[in-house]
Symmetry: C2
Subunit: 213 residues, 2 copies
């Protein structure tokens, strides 16, 4: 587990101490998320598209319909920035100025390539599914050839990346600690709710074990 190089592109400049460049920290965040925002530019016009992803070793997998703008651009090998943001809480300082968020985020820089090998493609699709919900891939009807043909899978090799993390209490100016203002962290929690059966689900099909939690 080594460090990604710190370059003009990936360097965290604002509150530099929050910047991390080691694979361990970066991959832990990437592996904790499931939704990324993919940025690419077409003639200086940026687009930012939310999509599911998975990490496989030193690359990020995204997929979608072969005719989507994002996939069509990514398979051309345009430069990509993939950002994953996990929000942990609102940091309530005594001063408006020192309000902040507790979060873990990663920016990945690289370029994509279309995954053409059929086996590699299926492995990549399974990785995205597993990253969202373990065990579901095995419990679904696998993709057939027609479905695979209209799906593009893109592998983005991680050329550079950086993580930015903020955690813990607010940091106020020394003189503000005397103010009669409540300060602390309001946690933001994301969790699964109760599974809701499809209205067309046959009544003899039980909820699978991996959804019982």
């Amino acid at each position: 587990m080594s460090e990604f190089p710190k370059t003009e592109r990936n360097q965290v400049r604002r509150v530099a101490k929050r910047g991390k460049y080691d694979r361990k920290t970066i991959y832990k965040i990437l592996d904790a998320g499931y939704l990324c925002h993919v940025g690419f530019a077409v003639d200086q016009q940026p687009f930012v598209i939310p999509t599911l992803y998975a990490r496989i070793e030193d690359s990020i997998i995204v997929h979608g319909s072969s005719i989507s703008r994002m996939l069509k651009n990514l398979e051309k090998g345009v430069r990509v920035c993939v950002t994953v943001t996990l929000v942990d809480g609102i940091v309530l300082a005594r001063s408006a100025f020192h309000h902040s968020m507790n979060y873990r985020s990663v920016c990945v820089f690289g370029t994509g390539r279309l995954v053409e090998d059929q086996g590699e493609k299926i492995d990549a699709l399974k990785a995205v599914s597993d990253n969202l919900l373990e065990n579901r891939w095995e419990d679904s009807r696998p993709p057939n050839q027609k479905e695979l043909n209209v799906t593009s899978v893109i592998k983005i090799d991680i050329e550079e990346a950086s993580a930015k993390i903020r955690e813990g209490d607010p940091i106020d100016d020394a003189s503000d600690y005397e103010l009669p203002i409540w300060a602390g962290v309001l946690p933001i929690i994301t969790e699964f709710g109760e599974p809701q059966a499809d209205s067309k689900l046959s009544s003899d099909i039980d909820l699978p074990e991996y959804l019982e939690r």
Copy 2:
């Protein structure tokens, strides 16, 4: 409340029926979120940065340290794509192929300008604070001149926008409904946890009412 024009840039092409262009739908999603991902490109290199925001009428407000790369680029008036994504659940279809997410997302296209008027700047900062947590602005020590000087506020006029929404049950191929596979929606719920007091908080300061819920 009218429609944004449907152009090459903002048109939802994949599953076009999920695309919405009316201000009412788009603003409802923007007003329900607090975190956006701002995309901009520098010499074809895209950057995607997570940040807080607020909507004021037909514009999006973002702010940050004047020396941040994002703010410095945005104040130059580069083209921007601001994306807000609210995830509501995982759509578990019988086929791997028809798995999806329930979500509400908006892409806004425009260019930013630096807010220089002091009154407008404070109103904009308050709007971002209110959008994150109502009542907190009034309960904080307001920004002083030194703090305002090192903060940049950018107003991005919404030139074009589109929303994309998916909701409800999975849609499977007709022949797949007979498969003995559980299908439905696994909701994803985001909520506030129990407020955690700053370790340096004086014990005589009570939790304010707006945090008691």
